[in-house]
């Protein structure tokens, strides 16, 4: 017990040291605090994106889903690849525009391209409202692990409190630089923990091959869709693929990691690295399925990993792997808290409260926001129950809606502010209605987020074609930026672009 407490203590002290060291390089400007002066290098970018993208949802929720619902979470292999592809195709364009026009938040890009204050506010509200529940699941997951790893000596409420205290301190002093540095440690721990836990636990039933053979005879429904409960079939397979990848990608924490990158070349490599990292889910498969054989009927499936580690692994090894799980939670939570505080500071305080705020004042407000959002997430973690994956997907379905106006902004001259605004309203309303509306079942079994995207896209395209933008200076400024992007990264397309532009203008 003492050993595990020491591991937990070390795990909490190391990020503090890293944060304090990284703070020495801070320059006291908002750009440095929020996006590291747009100079983040390749190693830090990979680890901070991967560790931010993989959360308690992945570390604990994946095991729980294999345990309760069969193979549907295997679609994670594909959603990691989709996330990586979007990071290249959309992220690189967002990065280019961010660098050119000095953006810090999602609202900056949308508000500028669509030239609409209403849309700017709507985007900020969506990012805030739907990020906080996702933040809550990080806190819940991390606190579960610390509670179990300490053998109950540290209760859930205290674990959650400690968890956020640490994050607040090092993000306060070091901003996104401290997060990126700690994410390198967290990321490595996370991948090691997922794979080694699966390998170790499956050996308790004779190894992976023996595990599948036993499962095929005792509970074959766990090995095919729709799973043992009969509710996780193809529609959920496809829904998860779309909603998780797009929803996480559109979260403000990932936007900041698009703006922070130093070189455009790095975006070309990220799909491969993020795809490769998805192999760690094999560890979750083994853990979740071993749980079916070894610990059937757990009351809280999210605890399948910690419970099995405590029952079948040496105490210190179990504590170390659970520290890796806490890493998954912490590395996403730190980024989310930092991102929502960036949104509040830049999109609300600096734009509507104090336009002429000094750099030090902006950074100070950002730090205060850290504390406020941490408190909100802490209260939610103590009072709002629910499975990690269930809460996570509902939150991701909301942020996923932002992809429609984003693609419009980076590719389409005709994209209209009213279309973006009403598309988002329609998409979000659909998500909320299908999620919380009484006695409504989702058509075709698809998740509410998918239907939200369909309605959002339909409204966006139809209204954009029906309406005409009058702010041609803004449209031309972005068209020029897009041409410059193509000229720099895909010059072979320049001829097409240059000939297409006048034709489009003529057609309009």
């Amino acid at each position: 017990m003492t050993g595990s407490i020491l591991i937990i203590a070390a795990f909490m002290i190391i990020p503090l040291i890293v944060g304090l060291v990284s703070a020495r390089q801070s320059q006291g400007t908002s750009e440095d605090f929020f996006v590291q002066g747009r100079a983040m290098g390749s190693v830090a970018v990979f680890f901070t994106v991967a560790a931010t993208w993989w959360s308690a949802f992945a570390f604990l929720g994946s095991n729980a889903t294999f345990y309760t619902s069969g193979p549907v979470y295997l679609t994670a292999l594909a959603w990691n690849l989709l996330f990586g592809f979007m990071y290249y195709w959309i992220g690189k364009r967002v990065w280019f525009l961010g660098k050119r026009f000095n953006y810090l938040t999602p609202s900056d890009l949308m508000g500028d391209f669509y030239n609409s204050e209403a849309l700017r506010i709507l985007v900020a509200v969506i990012t805030l409202v739907f990020t906080i529940p996702y933040l809550q699941i990080q806190l819940t997951g991390g606190a579960y692990l610390i509670e179990v790893a300490s053998g109950g000596v540290i209760p859930f409420w205290l674990a959650a409190l400690l968890f956020y205290f640490i994050i607040i301190v090092y993000v306060w002093v070091g901003g996104i630089r401290a997060i990126a540095w700690t994410d390198v440690i967290y990321g490595a721990l996370l991948f090691f923990g997922m794979m080694y836990a699966g390998y170790y636990i499956s050996n308790q039933v004779g190894g992976p091959t023996a595990l599948f053979a036993q499962l095929a005879s005792s509970s074959p429904a766990h090995l095919t869709m729709p799973g043992p409960n009969g509710n996780m079939g193809y529609s959920m397979w496809f829904s998860l693929f779309m909603i998780v990848a797009i929803g996480a990608f559109m979260g403000p924490q990932i936007w900041l990691r698009m703006y922070s990158v130093k070189s455009g070349r790095l975006f070309n490599l990220m799909p491969f690295l993020l795809g490769l990292a998805a192999f760690a889910y094999v560890g979750s498969v083994l853990t979740g399925y071993s749980g079916v054989l070894l610990e059937p009927g757990l009351e809280n499936p999210d605890q399948v990993l910690p419970v099995m580690l405590m029952n079948y692994a040496p105490y210190l090894l179990a504590s170390l792997i659970m520290a890796a799980g806490a890493a998954a939670a912490m590395s996403t939570a730190n980024s989310q808290i930092h991102a929502v505080s960036t949104v509040v500071t830049m999109d609300i305080y600096q734009r509507y409260v104090n336009r002429h705020a000094s750099q030090s004042r902006i950074v100070f407000i950002g730090r205060l926001s850290l504390v406020g959002f941490s408190l909100a997430a802490y209260i939610m973690a103590l009072t709002v129950p629910g499975l990690l994956v269930t809460i996570g997907i509902a939150a991701l379905a909301g942020t996923a809606q932002l992809i429609v106006p984003t693609i419009g902004a980076i590719t389409w001259r005709r994209a209209h502010p009213m279309a973006a605004f009403w598309g988002l309203i329609g998409g979000i309303a659909c998500v909320l209605w299908l999620t919380y509306g009484a006695s409504v079942s989702n058509p075709l079994g698809l998740h509410a987020g998918i239907w939200g995207l369909i309605i959002n896209s339909g409204l966006f395209v139809v209204l954009s074609l029906a309406l005409e933008r009058r702010d041609s200076d803004v449209v031309e400024r972005f068209a020029k930026a897009r041409q410059d992007y193509v000229a720099e990264y895909h010059p072979e397309q320049c001829d097409d672009e240059q000939t297409a532009t006048p034709q489009t203008a003529q057609a309009r």
Partner: protein, 84 residues
């Protein structure tokens, strides 16, 4: 130049489309079986791991060929061979 660019880029993006279709279209239900097990692993898992490996390798090839573009890292490649 056009022919080289089109062929390479089409191959990369076409391969990606194929991989995602195999993983995420209703075709995946064709592989939704325990048997035949391959090296002790259920067929649905083998199917997913196989197409995941295919796409991951394709992403590496995409990186090495600058995603089918005729540039490297934002610098135009002026080699006459590429411009043919």
């Amino acid at each position: 130049m056009r022919k080289t660019f089109t062929t390479r880029k089409l191959a990369i993006y076409g391969g990606m489309l194929l991989g995602f279709i195999m993983l995420e279209s209703p075709l995946v239900m064709v592989a939704n079986h325990v048997e035949p097990m391959v090296m002790g692993v259920p067929f649905l898992f083998v199917w997913n791991l196989g197409w995941w490996a295919f796409l991951t390798i394709l992403f590496l090839i995409a990186y090495l060929t600058n995603w089918g573009s005729t540039t490297r890292g934002g610098m135009a490649v002026s080699s006459p061979k590429r411009d043919d």
